[in-house]
């Protein structure tokens, strides 16, 4: 339920959280000017899982929306492009399995790494690098809103900001809600042994509207918050390369940076940048995903506003 990578840091930080906050940019000069190393924010597993999420999510969105908005010519052509509705349905279910697998892998590896790093549930769930929303997130939200309105400075965010936590749990919520209703629709005969037949109709509404929420949110808010913010425009590739320039870490995650400096662990998290070709590949992948996502948004808006029935 939380990032385990900075296990030691987390423990230390948990002890002296407030103290560190007072001196955020104490060791701002770690790298020599010639040092091109970058901060490693995401492990290969995380990046892989995110990529799996992208692929499965986009696939589910495309195939699912083609059914939801079957009355648009767009949907008809897409269904044909995907090899007809039957194939589209098959792809949808396969992508759902991929997503379930991704989700399960995340949970399993989370627990495995907790054991491996001998963390307690307490430190995992309530430590400074926790992904669970806490009091500080509320404070940071309030601080952020003040900053937006020019009433205060930008809050000193830690490893996970509140909007990143929201995105993270949105997936949990989505998997549970869309996944459960999706299974109901997949195996209606089995499920109607326990629930009335009309529940299939209810499940249809929940499944499709929740999916609309998920796609709409991911392809607009999430894209903006994490990839397309003007200061990072046109693309923040951290989730794909795993690397974050140190200056960005200092600027966007000052509290995490400070904690790493305090414990002296920062050095462990620095790596040479990915080869240029790899970055280019990631960029291409990311742009493709973004392109598909935006197309879906345009399609949804078209379908809901101009072609709604």
């Amino acid at each position: 339920m939380a990032d385990h990578r900075h296990a030691a840091t987390a423990r230390a930080e948990y002890a002296s959280d407030t103290a560190l906050m007072a001196e955020p940019a104490a060791a701002s000069v770690v790298l020599q000017p010639a040092d091109r190393r970058e901060f490693v924010r995401f492990t290969r597993l995380h990046r892989t899982l995110h990529a799996c999420m992208i692929v499965s999510f986009l696939t589910l969105a495309l195939t699912g929306m083609s059914l939801k908005f079957s009355y648009t010519g767009w949907a008809f052509r897409l269904a044909h492009l995907l090899g007809g509705f039957e194939t589209a349905g098959f792809i949808h279910r396969t992508a759902a399995l991929v997503m379930f697998g991704t989700f399960t892998t995340h949970i399993v590896t989370l627990v495995r790494d907790k054991r491996r790093n001998q963390l307690t549930w307490r430190s995992l769930l309530f430590g400074p690098n926790t992904l669970l929303p806490n009091k500080r997130d509320a404070q940071e939200l309030a601080g952020t809103l003040k900053w937006f309105l020019g009433l205060g400075p930008r809050p000193e965010y830690g490893r996970w900001t509140y909007w990143e936590k929201f995105d993270y749990f949105a997936v949990f919520w989505g998997i549970v809600v869309i996944g459960s209703t999706g299974l109901t629709l997949w195996f209606p005969v089995f499920f109607t042994r326990f629930v009335p037949g009309a529940f299939i109709n209810v499940a249809t509404i929940i499944h499709s509207d929740e999916a609309l929420l998920a796609t709409g949110f991911i392809f607009t808010v999430h894209f903006f918050n994490t990839h397309l913010r003007p200061e990072k425009f046109p693309m923040d590739t951290t989730i794909f390369t795993g690397h974050m320039p140190l200056a960005e870490l200092k600027r966007d995650k000052p509290r995490e940076y400070a904690a790493l400096m305090t414990t002296g662990e920062l050095e462990e998290h620095l790596e040479e940048p990915q080869p240029a070709i790899v970055v280019k590949a990631f960029r291409a992948f990311a742009w493709t995903a973004l392109g598909i996502g935006f197309s879906v948004v345009v399609w949804i808006v078209y379908a809901m506003i101009f072609a709604y029935r």
Binding site: S70, H80, W147, F217, V221, R309
Partner: protein, 694 residues
């Protein structure tokens, strides 16, 4: 006894009836008594002038008198008189006013009254046109003597008699032929009576072949009761004509079965065509075709390849065409009637086109009622006539593959006019277009034209061959009311199901239009129902009437996936049935409580009753009918709107700050670059790697 023969033969018209035979007996008796009386009178030497007394003067050829300024012979040939039927009689038997007169009598005698003996004939004559004319004082009116003669009357059967069968035409013809005062000055509708009769089959039989049983004038008009055909008592009145003709042509109705049911001929003589309607009286030939016209006579001219009509049409007739046609046994003149064999060019008397209905009577009536026939009757040049579909000399039966009307040739035949742009298609104002190409691609068209199934429905199967009418006509076979029966002629099993379904007018009584076969299957582009195109279209067809229910169907999974072109999903007819649709409340319905699970199981093998509770026509827009769907939908919508509002506001507020940060970072970057240029940093790769990063 010669008189016996005479009297029996004197009434040939009546001899068939028993009444006539009775009368004949009476006459015989009267004659015997009369003869006896005459003999006794003579024997008793009563004071009466004897035959010899009369002949003493009248036996002289020189005996004449002056009447009206003219010299008139009063000569009576004793030999002829003796040989006549009246030979045994005394003069005074007829010239009754001689009695008691001194001989030689000076005053002329009164006209003889034949009626004193021949009372029946006398009365018949008095009532006839001749008798009435006589009563009017018409100088041209014939008396007994004009036909029968006076002192030289011979028995009818005697070939020398003036009223012998073989002489009758000329006897009547004395007055009734062209140029006579009667024909010129009296109101007689027929013309060329004698010449026409002479050339008629009757005339030919009688006059050329000497068949004295052949009908002469008196056979039809009677000898004495001659009445105009407008008189109901006339032997040639419309209702009597059949009886008159059948006196000779017994059982003629048996050979006219195709035209007229024999029994009706006499029962409904007023409505049915009478003999004379086809076999005109007196005409060139009494038959309406000229049996005497041999085909070879026609071919003498029409075999010439260069023969052209005045308008340039070739008048060539190919004999082999006729010989291989269905009319091989029909003579030219049977169709091209009105020919006159007596002319050098017999066909010059033809004034009408060939009328097939003369033989094909029933079909002709069908045609007359059809749109084609109605147009034709109005003189529309676009209207197809018999020959336009059947051809002329090369008419073949519809079962002959070479025939224009063979089933596989029918679409092309009708296409001549009904293809887009052709003369019928441009007149047509209905909904059906591209009829021919659509039909060709339809299941019927493919079956007929590609698979060669000659039993497949072609144009005439539905529209009929001769009685085609627009669908709006209640009598049309393609009128919605008749369509199920029309399709049912082949698809009988379907029709049986359909007539019991809710869509049948026999089950549902409504003013709303009910669907029939072509509303779902279309008229001309009927497709195979097991192919995708049909399966997907059919849902829209149901939706034409069931708009709401179709809309809600498309809101559910089945509807949505079918919209995407998936045909294996449940469509209207998979659940409701195709032709056997019934109300769901009907226990026999596929969706009744007893049957619904089985219906679901057609696709969902393990379906349970609870599974069947799935709402196949659910909508989340109806809070009363489906409150849980309604509230689920609006709950979800609220969640969506809420989430997007909050995150949207958050993002929008962020935007100015983010832009501000971007500007700062760019400024810092520019500063760093300026400082870095002196120390030859950063490397170009760095820039590339960090491209786009602030």
């Amino acid at each position: 006894m010669p008189g016996h023969r005479f009297f029996r033969d004197a009434a040939p018209q009546q001899k068939r009836t028993t009444r006539a035979r009775g009368r004949c007996g009476q006459r015989l008796l009267a004659f015997i008594l009369l003869s006896l009386l005459a003999y006794l009178g003579h024997a008793a030497a009563i004071q009466q002038p004897s035959k010899d007394d009369c002949l003493a003067c009248h036996g002289e050829k020189s005996l004449t008198t002056k009447r009206g300024g003219r010299t008139v012979s009063l000569f009576v040939d004793p030999k002829k008189f003796a040989a006549s039927v009246h030979g045994p009689l005394q003069c005074t038997n007829c010239h009754a006013d001689l009695e008691g007169k001194d001989l030689p009598h000076s005053a002329p005698l009164a006209k003889v009254n034949c009626g004193s003996c021949h009372s029946d004939e006398f009365q018949q004559h008095a009532k006839s046109v001749h008798g009435k004319a006589l009563a009017r004082g018409d100088a041209l009116a014939p008396r007994c003597v004009n036909c029968h003669g006076n002192h030289d009357i011979l028995p009818v059967k005697d070939p020398h008699s003036s009223v012998a069968a073989i002489k009758i035409p000329y006897l009547c013809g004395q007055c009734h032929q062209e140029g006579t005062p009667v024909q010129l000055n009296r109101d007689i509708a027929q013309h060329d009576i004698l010449s026409n009769y002479t050339e008629s089959i009757h005339g030919e039989g009688l006059l050329k072949k000497g068949l004295i049983v052949a009908a002469n004038c008196a056979s039809c008009h009677t000898a004495h009761s001659i009445l105009p055909h407008t008189d109901p008592n006339s032997s040639i009145a419309r209702k009597n004509i059949a009886a008159t003709c059948t006196k000779c042509h017994a059982n003629i109705e048996l050979v006219h079965r195709k035209t007229i049911r024999g029994e009706l001929w006499e029962k409904q003589a007023n409505t049915l065509p009478a003999c004379i309607d086809c076999h005109q009286p007196h005409k060139v030939r009494n038959e309406f075709y000229s049996q005497g016209m041999a085909d070879a006579d026609c071919m003498r001219c029409h075999g010439d390849i260069h023969l052209k009509a005045s308008d340039g049409r070739s008048m060539l007739v190919r004999v082999n065409e006729v010989a291989s046609s269905r009319h091989v046994k029909v003579a030219c003149s049977q169709c091209h009637s009105e020919v006159n064999a007596s002319r050098i060019r017999p066909c010059e008397t033809i004034t009408h086109k060939v009328d097939c209905t003369a033989c094909h009577e029933a079909i002709g009536q069908e045609y007359a009622g059809s749109t084609h026939g109605q147009m034709h009757a109005k003189g529309d040049p676009n209207a197809p006539f018999c020959k336009d579909c059947h051809g002329t000399h090369h008419v073949l039966g519809k079962r002959n593959p070479e025939s224009l009307t063979f089933s596989t040739n029918v679409p092309d035949l009708c296409a001549k006019c009904h293809r887009e742009g052709q003369k019928a298609a441009v007149l047509y104002t209905g909904k059906e277009h591209e009829i021919i190409p659509r039909y060709t691609e339809s299941i019927h068209g493919k079956g007929l034209l590609k698979s060669g199934l000659t039993v497949t429905a072609t144009c005439t199967s539905c529209h009929t061959a001769h009685h085609e009418l627009p669908a709006s006509d209640p009598a049309s076979t393609v009128n919605p009311r008749n369509v199920p029966a029309t399709c049912g002629t082949c698809h009988h099993g379907i029709e049986e199901q359909f007539v019991q379904s809710i869509h049948s007018a026999t089950v549902t009584h409504t003013n709303q239009p009910l669907p029939v076969c072509n509303d779902c299957h279309s008229a001309h582009s009927i497709r195979r129902t097991d192919l995708d195109g049909f399966k997907l279209d059919i849902m829209n067809q149901c939706g034409h009437c069931h708009a709401e229910i179709a809309k809600t169907y498309f809101d559910t999974y089945h509807g949505k996936v079918s919209r995407l072109g998936y045909t294996s999903t449940a469509k209207c007819y998979d659940c409701h049935g195709a032709h056997d649709i019934l109300k769901v409340t009907d226990p026999r319905s596929h969706l009744s409580r007893a049957n619904v699970v089985a219906t679901c199981r057609k696709c969902h093998a393990d379906a349970t009753r609870r599974f069947a509770g799935y709402l196949t026509h659910a909508t989340h827009h109806d809070p009363k009918k489906y409150p849980f769907l309604f509230w689920t939908f609006w709950g979800m919508t609220a969640l969506l709107v809420g989430t997007f509002t909050v995150s949207g506001v958050h993002t929008l507020l962020w935007l100015p700050r983010a832009l501000q940060m971007r500007r700062q970072l760019r400024a810092e970057e520019a500063k760093m670059l300026e400082g870095g240029e002196s120390s030859s940093r950063p490397a170009p790769e760095d820039k590339d790697t960090d491209d786009g990063r602030p």
